[in-house]
Symmetry: C2
Subunit: 192 residues, 2 copies
């Protein structure tokens, strides 16, 4: 029997395939199942053995993205310390998943219909809660709703991921550009 193969190699392989798929689909969202398979170094047949179909693959990517985001939120400890620092930690931790997130963000077909993953709602709630905490503590302005700030965070992360992918922004500037714009905006701060 090969139960050890099941419990040790398989998940690694599946994860590897998912990550390559994410990387490819981020650049070319219309990539073929065959292209995805080649990109992961396996054959189309094997890809179909792991994922029932393209839909199942995208769903798996969605779950992976949600998992990574939730892990990032956990690591970022959103409810500790100043809210602005928590936002910085959040962006830093979420950066590795930015590409995948950008792909899923553009896959708007996921968000229509009733079958949408409730993980997004959980993420939205946690991030919005962070912004609300910052508002209640007086750190953040109250005339921008937490829902919009959450939306804007997603949008900026996706924009940043694409800009990095296209070479318009350096990878090392990713976190700085997003957090500084999101928190401080483009205007010069008055010297205190």
């Amino acid at each position: 029997m090969s139960h050890m193969v099941y419990t040790c190699l398989m998940p690694l392989d599946r994860d590897h395939v998912l990550r390559r798929a994410a990387a490819l689909l981020t650049r070319k969202s219309t990539a073929t199942m065959d292209e995805v398979a080649r990109s992961a170094g396996i054959s189309r047949a094997t890809l179909h053995r792991h994922f029932a179909g393209r839909d199942a693959l995208v769903r798996a990517l969605e779950s992976l993205g949600i998992e990574e985001c939730e892990a990032a939120l956990d690591t970022a400890r959103l409810d500790e310390g100043p809210a602005s620092d928590a936002v910085r930690r959040l962006v830093r931790e979420i950066e590795p998943a930015a590409g995948l997130l950008a792909f899923l963000y553009g896959e708007n077909q996921l968000f229509e219909g009733e079958g949408q993953n409730e993980g997004w709602a959980r993420l939205d709630a946690r991030i919005a809660a962070l912004f609300r905490r910052g508002q209640e503590s007086g750190e953040f302005r109250i005339d921008l709703t937490p829902a919009w700030l959450t939306e804007a965070l997603y949008g900026l992360v996706a924009s940043g991921a694409w800009a990095v992918l296209d070479g318009r922004v350096a990878t090392k500037d990713f976190q700085f550009m997003i957090t500084e714009l999101l928190l401080g905006g483009a205007l010069r701060r008055e010297e205190p």
Copy 2:
């Protein structure tokens, strides 16, 4: 003969079709040619008479989006007055095209390959010049590059359009949310 039909009705019709196509494709970027036609109230045959194929349709939408953006930039008079006011005017003028822009922004296949419309480069240059002007006048901070601010503007406009489409943000708040976040950020301003 019906030359008057050509010069009067046709352009209106074509424009109408393009706008309906933009509205539909913004929500469902994988919409069928048949769905686009139905959405515009015409048959698939007529749609194919106006646009050689799906690719031509998307290219026409791209040109329309660029035209509307350039018109918005013209109306906004980016080189007059304080740069922050110019940004506010820019967002206000660009709002009607936000949905179309969001669709094109997600159509990343347009930006790969050499056949990309040079109109985007013109728009990028004009918007980046605005941010640079703001930096040189001391209004904007200099640690966020004009290229990134331009990218972020696109991303926020797209995010805003989608948020409005999904009912997460009120239409009347669109301009305020974007300009305030882009210019001022989420942090509370110190009272001067």
